[in-house]
């Protein structure tokens, strides 16, 4: 088993390199760059004097304009000449520009990956703070939200699904289904705004706070008070995050349960005279969980990702907002750091899911996997 894990971990390195390289190139290919955004002074134009010279200086400062080694420049010259013939008056724009772009970005990627090797993700272009600090601020908030969400979603959906499967086609099964699909189709930004207006605004009920993760000055509260304060703040956002996810998961576990319950061994167990409860929970339910593991594989990276809409409406500074704003601002170091970390987590959780299969299902072995 240890050998298998080591092998899998080693195989991750080239995959990860490939992911980061592709991400890097895609980000750089996207139109727009942080410098021209800064020169325009953010959203809504200012009448300021934008000059090419100043733009170039800033590009250099941000490491977005690098000097190519003269050998490479000469090499580009030779290649464009070979492809397009040697007419100096008609510079073949595309080939030259493409090769130049590739060269410049290769150098920038090399600088980035050297930093990564020392776990240095660099500084954000936006506010010039270390990227890791920014992630360290946003991550605990998003983790808290997501852990609560996932726990609630599983805790409610799976039993609902099992119940529906055991009482298939009953009225309650249908009612549950309709209800869950209604919830599923309510847009979250709308529900979020309504909840805030009716339960937190000053106009109707005033039960919950309007914004934020904890009250101002709550950092100094004793532990339980602090926890209560955070919970009080999170009730509405978690409600909005959770209600739409019931439908999929409960349908999923209902289908799994139905499949298992029709199996011969369940019938055998019943016929043997085992108590119904024992058959369902011990034999059927455990086996119906196996397909859930496949979904669990996506859990780890999902823990990291935040919802832009919910964070925006509830003024919660989590990962969703950080990622979204970095993309809008073309904050390359931050985008790269977030996507690298989630790539690592995705790869790890795929491995974990594979290990979990072996653990849950005796028919799957490491030997079979290796072959």
């Amino acid at each position: 088993m240890a050998a298998y894990i080591v092998k899998r971990l080693l195989a991750m390195i080239p995959t990860l390199l490939g992911i980061t390289l592709l991400t890097f190139l895609i980000i750089k290919l996207a139109p727009g760059n942080p410098v021209s955004l800064k020169m325009q002074g953010g959203e809504g134009l200012k009448a300021g004097q934008v000059s090419q010279e100043a733009t170039d200086q800033m590009l250099k400062l941000y490491g977005l304009k690098v000097d190519l080694p003269p050998e490479y420049e000469a090499w580009i010259g030779r290649w464009t000449e070979r492809i397009h013939g040697s007419d100096p008056k008609d510079p073949p724009h595309f080939t030259r520009r493409a090769l130049k772009w590739l060269g410049e970005n290769a150098i920038q990627y090399k600088i980035w990956i050297t930093g990564l090797a020392q776990l240095d993700f660099g500084r954000s272009f936006k506010d010039r703070r270390p990227v890791l600090t920014k992630i360290a601020e946003a991550l605990p908030i998003t983790l808290t939200l997501n852990l609560i969400e996932i726990f609630l979603v599983y805790f409610i959906s799976v039993p609902l699904g099992v119940y529906s499967a055991l009482h298939r086609e009953s009225i309650l099964d249908k009612v549950i289904m309709v209800l869950l699909f209604i919830l599923y189709s309510l847009p979250d930004f709308w529900v979020a705004t309504l909840l805030l207006m009716y339960f937190a605004g000053g106009d109707h009920l005033n039960w919950f706070p309007l914004m934020g993760f904890m009250s101002e000055g709550a950092q100094t509260y004793p532990f339980w008070m602090k926890l209560g304060n955070i919970a009080w703040h999170l009730i509405l956002p978690v409600t909005v995050m959770v209600y739409g996810s019931f439908a999929f998961l409960s349908r999923f576990s209902r289908a799994n349960m139905l499949e298992v319950i029709r199996q011969d061994y369940v019938r055998t167990a019943m016929a043997k005279g085992l108590p119904r409860r024992k058959v369902i929970w011990r034999h059927a339910f455990r086996n119906s969980l196996i397909p859930l593991i496949t979904i669990m594989g996506a859990l780890l990276p999902a823990l990291l990702g935040g919802s832009v809409i919910i964070e925006q409406i509830f003024s919660i500074p989590g990962m969703g907002k950080l990622g979204f704003e970095s993309v809008l601002a073309r904050d390359y170091p931050t985008i790269m750091a977030i996507s690298t970390i989630s790539a690592v987590l995705t790869l790890l959780s795929l491995l974990l899911a594979d290990l979990a299969y072996v653990w849950v299902d005796p028919r799957i072995t490491f030997r079979a996997r290796q072959e």
């Binding site: 139109p31 410098v35 021209s36 134009l45 000059s51 937190a200 106009d203 009250s215 003024s315 907002k321």
Partner: protein, 534 residues
Amino acid sequence: MELSHSKKYPFRLIAALLCSLILSACAVEAPKDPSTLLFSLSAEPDTLNRLTATDAYEGTVNGFIFDALIERDNRTLEYKPKLATQWEVSDDKLTYTFHLRNDVKWHDGKPFTADDVIYTFQQITNEKVDAGPLRNYYKDIKNAEKLDDYTVRFTYAIPYFKALEFVGGIPVIPKHVFDDGQDFNNHPAGRRPIGTGPFKFKEWNTNKNIVLERNEAYWDKEKFPDYRRVLFKIIPDSTIVLQVLKKGELDVANLRPIQWVRQTLGEGFNNRFARHQYYLPGYRYIGWNQQRPNAPFFKDKKVRQALSHLVNRQDIVNKLEFGLAKLTNGPFWVFGYEYNRKLPQILFDPAKAKLLLEEAGWSDRDNDGIREKDGVKFEFTFLIPAGSASANRLATILKKDLEDAGISMQIQSMEWAAFVNRLNAKDFDAVTLGWTGSIDEDPYQIWHSSQIEKGSNYTGFKNEEADRIMEEARTVFDKERRTQLYNRFHEIIYDEQPYTFLYTGASLLARDRRFKNVQVYKLGVDFLEWKVAQ
């Protein structure tokens, strides 16, 4: 019996937990301090380093922390002394000498001197400093010298009527703090600024709030603030901002037009909050790109005039801004001296537009509903920023009206960074955007033909007389003469219609009535003069 108990029990438990949670949370909510001005920001400033900042939020916060050398009087908009007690401009308008106050201290107790001003200038012009956008304003300054500890002199290479505004408004930073060998761009003082102003920086809770405290040793006794603290809350969603205000957790909120006409009218609201509106320099427009080979029609003045008659501006103002905007027909502030008020508004007049289009040779010869000339169809793409709901609605209204006049328009919306890219590359047919203006406007950078290549003259406007006027006006220090020149310039722009000028939107504000002495000036309110009612 037992069954029903076990069924009810969890519900009771949860209810009890919830109640205690809410009660405990309410109980620990800090009481509101009447001596704090509660403000909201829709996003966090990237930095509070005045030289490297590029967003508007930095100015809002630092406006409380720093003083300028000279500042405009709220009523007259003329300059008056602040950190500089007096200033002299040489006869050739090239040297500006400032005499600084000698009793001003930075918040850390060190004296403010000429060295700070000179250091600031050196940093702005230093290529290693990430101050590109700011540096542009100071590139015509040849030299900055310290005459003595409290006198500085700036020498311009060319005379320029806005020079006093730029040198007098130089964002002075403390030399003794920044000049300590650390990298300027990443200097920690950029996140805890030290100024000379009425408020001291206290703390910045990233993505939550920024707290300022009154500078008890503030030198300017006339402007000594009445309240003790300023708290900026970061609230990204404008709907929530109004909710937070109503709940009493904000003192000031910017309103959107829809909130002004629909959500802030009740008596209850009115008893607690007052509302103010004013118009800042700036305008929204549609720009017709004259340098597009595939859209040759925009080169023709008559076509552009026709297009302006096809834009139903009053309807747009009513629908998009709920009437809370002023129509404008030129590149200056509607309340500015440069604005030529003799020019009438261009009215929505499809009949006249069609006439102009026919005169220009654009008519529908093949009866397909689209006009053409020399084999070119009158078709173009309208580029709008995706984030802007109002641009989106404007485009929809425009598309319909143009269609009725035989012009086919496609709408393309793009995310802001990509949009800016297209704009800089002049890769668009027509575009809608806004410009933020200033009190003394210099139209050179948007309209001079030299700015087509690398400046902000995105639509490729070129007019020889206009070029001459703009060049001359830059060196004219007499306001009356400049008024004449710019009035004429406005006429040319009005005739040429390189843009269809739309309107200047109102700035809308709601504030808590516990503040007294609130004046609304041409440029808005001055928070520093507000008093807290006891």
